[in-house]
Amino acid sequence: MADTMRFELVSPERRVASMEVTAVRIPATEGDLTAMPDHTPLITTLRPGVLHAEGPEGEMEFVVTGGFAEVGAEGISVLAEESHSREEMTQEKLDRMIEAAARRHNEAKSNFENEPGPVDDAAKLLSDMMAMGDHIGLSPKQSNL
């Protein structure tokens, strides 16, 4: 059994990280999951959250939103629309992301008045985003909902 596997984190504009890891904790839509080498092949969508990678080179944390993770035989690739390493994450970036989510929520509320589906999705996105902010110790600005 291999001790490590390849882990890649890419955003549309660049490759954020590429390294050997022993375990990755992924914030998946249906709950966090930790993938280790020889995990069963899996594709899952992401919720906004903190991705935690552990390897011989140390531990790394990334903030990811929107996208999916593919756990395959060769390794794990995570494709996220926005991904920043934990250190790069600033209050400003978080505010921008939360603002976008809040706007989506409001749009959904006005566009789909009688369908709860999209509104709930947007609300979940927003609350996930807030929770992520709490988790990494940045105070989510109280947006007026």
Binding site: V10, S11, P12, R14, R15, A28, I43, F68, E81
Partner: protein, 293 residues
């Protein structure tokens, strides 16, 4: 015959033109390098995305419940064309070629009795298309203040397009952009984005297919990812377009510089000849004056 002074003026004006085109060429070269880098950096994401989407799409197949973005609306009446060109000119045939490609589709679609709608990105394409197809143009995306194309720009366009799709404004959508091959060659390209198409669809599918678990279900994942796929494809096209534009401008300006050089040479020769003629004339006058005495 132009006087010496005229020639001198012309030479200096051509020389300053040459300086300008030379400078533009160098600026384009620097921008091209950056644009190519950006395109390079975006490639891993686009490729992985494409591969996974291809897999998902293949496994969901033509099922009744597949998202409309994949399956299509079942009609083929309204075509939406998203024509991406540059904001600035002076880049040779770059814009013309892209517009030509889109006009082909417009003509064909109309011949088949379909309705055509056009969204333009970049001023140059809008200016040309507006002359003939003003009624078909439904929107324009202004990128004149965008220095470097970001994913956000692509997302904006994608949202615009997807909103229209949700409202049933069109059945099929194509994007037009310049594909960058190298500095001297760029190809105008047409790509269908709705219903979604993926590069790795059939290719090596059966050979090394891993069976994935999907969480949540395949169709939910697809529904979540398809809109992102549209944005990704638009983003890739925008980046290609930016690189192509700079490449086209670079070679156009290189040609212009070379032409100006040739012209300066010709004008210099003419100038020298005229100068000598003037001297000879003066000599003749002096000599014949002396002889008359």
């Amino acid at each position: 015959m132009p006087s010496l002074k005229d020639l001198k003026n012309r030479i200096s004006s051509v020389k300053s033109t040459r300086k300008i085109t030379k400078a533009m060429q160098m600026v384009a070269a620097a921008k091209l390098r950056r644009a190519q880098e950006a395109a390079e950096n975006a490639r891993p994401y686009a490729e992985r995305f494409d591969a996974v989407m291809g897999q998902l799409a293949a496994s969901v197949g033509d099922s009744e419940t597949a998202p409309l973005l994949l399956r299509g609306t079942g009609k083929d009446d309204v075509h939406l064309l998203i024509v991406m060109t540059s904001e600035k000119g002076l880049c040779g045939g770059f814009n013309t070629n892209i517009v030509k490609k889109s006009v082909q589709r417009i003509k064909q679609s109309r011949q088949e009795g379909k309705e055509v709608k056009i969204i333009t990105v970049g001023k140059k394409g809008r200016d040309v298309l507006r002359r003939t197809y003003a009624d078909q143009m439904i929107d324009h995306v202004d990128h004149s203040d965008v220095k470097r194309v970001g994913y956000g720009d692509a997302q904006e366009i994608a949202r615009n397009v997807l909103d229209r799709f949700d409202n049933g404004e069109f059945d099929r959508a194509f994007i037009y952009y310049g594909e960058f091959e190298n500095v001297v060659t760029q190809h105008p390209r047409e790509q269908q984005i709705v219903p979604a198409t993926f590069g790795g669809d059939e290719g090596e599918a059966p050979a090394d297919k891993t069976l994935y678990d999907y969480e949540p279900g395949e169709e939910q994942i697809l529904a979540d990812l398809l809109p992102r796929g549209v944005a990704t494809q638009i983003f890739a096209a925008l980046l290609e377009n930016a690189a192509s534009e700079q490449g086209a401008r670079m070679s156009a300006m290189d040609n212009a510089t070379r032409n100006a050089e040739e012209m300066v040479d010709d004008l210099n020769r003419e100038y020298n000849r005229t100068r000598q003629a003037v001297i000879t004339n003066e000599l003749i006058e002096i000599i014949s004056g002396a002889e008359a005495l």
